[in-house]
């Protein structure tokens, strides 16, 4: 079952709604080990994305995702700005000018996005960052495909994996990002970026599985 351009647009809209509902929680997580702005940053970005979406709706999936990425780059700021814009731009580039995509395209796209984040942020697994939600999500997609799981199943598995990756950041001592300034004090707190990333994967699963 293919994922159409409209599915992609609905995903972006759904994630914007999810951010609107969760920005205070995200900012609060960032208040614990960062500078209390992650939710505000994401919210500012996706509000503008919603305004820009109409001008993207008639484009192909690659162009839509790149358009979202460019908007985030100029609106989010902080670390999340470049990071989230990289996710969308890399994914868009990987998928290219398609009007619909297969699960495999999405898996490749997410892998490319993850690689882009790793290059940009120079973080390793278990540094307590978004990557700790992304890597498991990508793995889950791949294994699901190898096992021939349905698209819906696979997407739910990736969301489940991202969720576990997010929770796994709690005991970690941050080595990247603002939380690293806290040293040992960063342990015991869930990473805000890993949380917003889990919500992103989850939102895709919700929008595309059925």
């Amino acid at each position: 079952m293919a994922i159409t351009r409209d599915d992609v647009i609905n995903w972006v809209k759904d994630y914007a709604r999810v951010i609107e509902e969760n920005h205070e929680m995200l900012t609060d997580l960032d208040r614990e080990i960062g500078d209390a702005d992650h939710g505000a940053n994401m919210r500012r970005g996706f509000k503008t994305v919603l305004d820009k979406l109409p001008s993207l709706e008639d484009k192909d999936i690659g162009a839509i995702l790149k358009g979202v990425g460019m908007t985030l780059l100029s609106k989010v700021g902080g670390a999340a700005g470049p990071l989230y814009s990289t996710i969308f731009i890399k994914a868009g580039t990987s998928i290219g000018p398609k009007m619909e995509m297969e699960l495999e395209d999405w898996a490749k796209a997410l892998e490319a996005a993850t690689a882009g984040i790793a290059t940009l942020g120079k973080a390793l697994p278990n540094d307590k960052t978004m990557l700790d939600a992304l890597y498991p999500a990508v793995d889950a997609l791949k294994t699901s495909m190898q096992n021939g799981t349905s698209t819906g199943e696979a997407l739910l598995n990736s969301a489940e994996a991202a969720h576990e990756g997010m929770l796994a950041t709690i005991p970690l001592v941050a080595r990247k990002g603002r939380a690293s300034y806290l040293g040992e004090r960063s342990a015991g707190h869930q990473d805000p970026g890993a949380t917003s990333t889990y919500l992103l994967i989850k939102s895709a699963a919700d929008a595309w599985s059925d």
């Binding site: 900012t27 208040r31 080990i33 960062g34 500078d35 209390a36 702005d37 505000a40 940053n41 500012r44 780059l73 100029s74 609106k75 989010v76 700021g77 902080g78 670390a79 999340a80 700005g81 470049p82 990071l83 940009l120 942020g121 080595r175 990247k176 990002g177 603002r178 690293s180 300034y181 806290l182 040293g183 004090r185």
Partner: protein, 333 residues
């Protein structure tokens, strides 16, 4: 939350409007993307200095735009790094043909956004050099982490390199000077109270009436550790010793001593800290030849102070004394 603000979303925009109304002789202010440039920018043939970062650190950076200091500042939302398009527009607006120096505090977000802006500017044919400021000894330095934060030293770099650019030094020379200052300067800060980020509305951390945070940054992050309150003399020692030991500063060194308020700590207390800092340094044979005392790099209304030491030499002293005319720092002109 008790602040003289209107809608928390409008804090930065309204502040910029105030700056625009207050200092037309010094700066021009642009919106969407937001940036502040020298009223006489671009200055032909002069290396242009561009800095920026989250808002909430006033007077840094916008208050340091003007003759002898910055050519442009890019204010992000409170405590959030500005975006590449702001930095790109600012860079284009102030380039006088001699190249542009980006002065970047070492935070993941600032670094990523400035890097992207520098690439875009280079694509447009502008010569850009970037220097990282990472002077906070409260954070261990390590290639495995985000490294040290850029804090108080940023102010001194902007002043001194600004004077060098004014003097006609090349982009390469200005960048080298900035890196030299970064190598010779160290800072550490502490907080008596938290600050309240406007859009959050509650304290960034909760600090009991009898405790303080040592080793804080400038974004309301908690510090490295939390301990019981101590007298000013003891606190000053807790800041001076790690700083001196880190470089290390040695007997016979001549330094600039910068005692900074985090925003809510009044001048009367800064002088008490300054007094003890000089006493401690003199006991180590370190001579204070210049100083700066006041709220220059703040965290909103946070009560607390930071100390920055910069090892000086003839050239640095001359550049420090050179005329500067900005809203936040002014002398000789």
């Amino acid at each position: 939350m008790k602040k003289l603000i209107n809608n928390p979303e409008d804090v930065v925009k309204e502040e910029l409007q105030g700056i625009e109304l207050a200092h037309p002789d010094l700066v021009k202010v642009f919106y969407d993307p937001d940036y502040i440039i020298r009223a006489d920018a671009p200055v032909q043939g002069k290396v242009a200095l561009v800095s920026g970062g989250g808002s909430g650190h006033e007077p840094m950076h916008g208050g340091f735009v003007g003759k002898g200091m910055l050519d442009a500042a890019c204010p992000g939302p409170v405590f959030t790094s500005p975006t590449p398009d702001q930095m790109l527009e600012a860079t284009k607006a102030v380039d006088g043909g001699a190249g542009v120096l980006h002065i970047v505090k070492n935070y993941t977000g600032d670094v990523m956004n400035f890097d992207m802006a520098a690439d875009m500017a280079r694509d447009e044919g502008i010569e850009v050099e970037s220097v990282l400021v990472d002077d906070d000894v409260a954070v261990e330095d390590s290639t495995w982490t985000a490294g040290r934060r850029g804090v108080g030293l940023t102010v001194l770099i902007e002043k001194i390199v600004g004077a060098a650019a004014e003097e006609g030094r090349t982009l390469k020379e200005c960048a080298e000077l900035a890196r030299k200052i970064n190598d010779q300067g160290r800072s550490m800060g502490m907080a008596l109270t938290s600050c309240v980020v406007p859009h959050v509305g509650k304290p960034s951390f909760d600090l009991p009436e009898d405790e303080m945070e040592i080793g804080i940054g400038i974004h309301g992050e908690p510090g490295r550790h939390r301990i019981k309150l101590e007298p000013a003399d003891k606190i000053t020692e807790m800041l001076i010793d790690p700083i001196v030991g880190d470089l290390p500063y040695k007997e016979g060194d001549e330094v600039l001593l910068f005692v900074n308020s985090m925003g809510g700590t009044p001048l009367i207390e800064l002088y008490i800290v300054y007094r003890k800092a000089v006493e401690l340094l003199e006991a180590k044979g370190i001579k204070v030849v210049r100083n700066l005392i006041g709220p220059y790099i703040t965290s909103l209304e946070m009560a607390g102070a930071s100390i920055t030491l910069l090892k000086m030499d003839e050239d640095l002293v001359k550049l420090w004394d050179a005329p500067v005319k900005t809203a936040g720092m002014r002398w000789g002109i």
